[in-house]
């Protein structure tokens, strides 16, 4: 590799390692995330211009921090002149810059994540905010993953950052008493990012999001190693990620979990997930993510035992339902019930949920219903339920899978 290419790659690696750390550190002093990001993006541009020719500095992070804080001071000075703003603004930026020691940048990414997932921030924006501020993803990439128009996403991100600043959301770890609930919001946001990357698991941009979410999971576990739910989330994401290659057949068709070849699962990822889950359960504090990971662990056991222990899965979903009351969990529980107590019992459980407004447009509910109806030989309403599921599914290959399933009960179904 040529020197320039090497330097370019070093710059990219430094960017990946340091971006969130530097944003967190720069923003924590002023509360102004947008200003920190702007200064840092200028610093990265300068690095990409200078490093390939002058070589990568000994301490790339310190180099970037110095460049960014110089830029923040310049901007504050200029703004003071332009807006005749008070000296206090400049003073606070200069103070913030002075206090920094480039040799030892503390890792405040978790504080930044807690600020982004603060209860005062719209829950739907917490995941996107974390992806942008901690990982530096642009609004267009985030919008694509969250199925939003880029312009709208960009505007919402700007507004959310302004809100962090204007409302005085602190950049610090929550008090002990608040930690579990606040951490849960952070984990939810990371899981939302993971989920947003999932549907298009083979679209490079979205697949990237899955990797980024996993990385954030590692960051949380690294910084809060004693929090079982963080361990649980990371395990959950690893289990799901491990099945990526088994989810599509050689010719690109969607393969449901029950028909996947366990040999295609990523054994190393599953082993890591198992270790994490075990570590989590040693704390004796159960939670939503640990239970969901445990369900995945039971599925993963099929690679050894050759079978799925549906009784165990049903028990775990019972626990999850009690904990969350989520209708989505109730659908999964009904499917597990159909495996242990028969299709009729599963269908009855599903029909009890029929009036839930959140399930009207929830594809897995209609697919599960269709499947159980078909098994019970109720072809006509099964086809109608499949048709509903098909029109709700955004992913082409999953849609084709549902169409094939539907055709099996009524071969002339278009």
């Amino acid at each position: 590799m040529k020197g320039a290419a090497l330097a370019h790659r070093a710059a990219e690696r430094a960017a990946r390692q340091s971006y969130g750390k530097l944003v967190a550190y720069l923003a924590a002093r002023t509360g102004d995330v947008a200003a920190a990001e702007d200064a840092l993006s200028d610093a990265f541009a300068a690095a990409l211009a200078s490093w390939p020719t002058r070589g990568v500095p000994q301490a790339p992070e310190a180099w970037l921090l110095t460049a960014a804080r110089r830029r923040m001071i310049d901007t504050a000075r200029r703004r003071r002149v332009r807006e005749a703003a008070s000296d206090r603004l400049l003073l606070s930026v200069e103070e913030a810059a002075d206090g920094m020691s480039p040799e030892d940048v503390p890792d405040w990414r978790l504080r930044l994540m807690f600020a982004c997932a603060h209860p005062a921030i719209d829950a739907a924006m917490r995941g996107p905010l974390i992806l942008q501020t901690v990982l530096g993803l642009d609004a267009a990439a985030i919008a694509a993953a969250f199925l939003t128009a880029p312009g709208a996403m960009s505007q919402r991100l700007v507004r959310a950052k302004r809100r962090i600043h204007d409302t005085g959301i602190p950049f610090r770890l929550p008090d002990r008493a608040d930690l579990p609930a606040r951490l849960d919001a952070v984990l939810e946001a990371i899981y939302a990012a993971f989920g947003a990357g999932w549907p298009g698991g083979f679209d490079a941009r979205r697949q990237g999001l899955v990797q980024e979410a996993l990385w954030l999971g590692h960051v949380v576990v690294g910084l809060l190693p004693e929090e079982p739910e963080g361990l649980g989330l990371l395990a959950l994401m690893l289990y799901s990620g491990a099945r990526r290659d088994a989810r599509r057949s050689a010719n690109g068709e969607y393969v449901p979990l029950s028909e996947q070849d366990p040999d295609l699962w990523d054994a190393a990822a599953i082993d890591e997930a198992e270790r994490l889950l075990q570590r989590a359960s040693s704390h004796g504090r159960i939670g939503r993510f640990q239970l969901e990971a445990a369900v995945q662990s039971v599925h993963a056991a099929r690679r050894i035992s050759g079978r799925t222990d549906w009784n165990a899965i049903l028990e775990l979903y019972d626990g999850l339902l009690e904990l969350t009351g989520s209708p989505v969990v109730a659908v999964n529980r009904a499917v597990a019930l159909s495996e242990t107590a028969g299709s009729q019992a599963g269908l009855v459980a599903l029909e009890e949920l029929a009036t839930n407004p959140r399930l009207v447009a929830y594809q897995p509910y209609w697919a599960a219903r269709a499947d159980l109806l078909a098994r019970l030989g109720r072809s006509a309403i099964a086809s109608a339920a499949y048709a509903r599921a098909i029109l709700l599914e955004p992913d082409t290959s999953v849609r084709h899978f549902l169409e094939r399933r539907c055709a099996r009960i009524r071969p002339n179904f278009a």
Partner: protein, 115 residues
């Protein structure tokens, strides 16, 4: 940072409230106010007379209109405020949670615009 805790509640409900319950609420507010003072975060506080005592003024095209009644008809009405000085939003929210109004109505937390 300074935050205004704006207290909203249903005036109607307050009007028809039994005397004992009213006394209980007044006592709760007194205790809360005392707690704010003790913590040295209190800047100012006032209770407002009901919206039946409100007058709205608006000038458009050089014409001033004076209207009897509040700015807007709402289900819950602004009934008072606390102005507090605390380090950040989390501190302001934890005081807001303790405010009696959080139980009887709504507390809106707004940062003060520093000029």
């Amino acid at each position: 940072m300074q935050y205004m805790l704006l207290i909203y509640g249903e005036e109607r409900a307050a009007e028809s409230m039994p005397r004992e319950q009213m006394t209980e609420i007044v006592n709760a507010y007194m205790a809360y106010t005392e707690a704010l003072r003790e913590a040295k975060v209190m800047v100012a506080s006032n209770r407002l007379k009901p919206t039946s005592a409100a007058t709205a003024v608006r000038t458009a095209n050089g014409q001033t209109k004076v209207l009897d009644g509040p700015f807007a008809e709402t289900k819950e009405q602004l009934g008072g405020y606390y102005l507090i000085d605390v380090p950040d939003l989390d501190a302001a929210l934890s005081w807001a949670k303790r405010c009696p109004a959080a139980r009887y109505g709504t507390v809106e937390v707004r940062p003060i615009w520093v000029m």
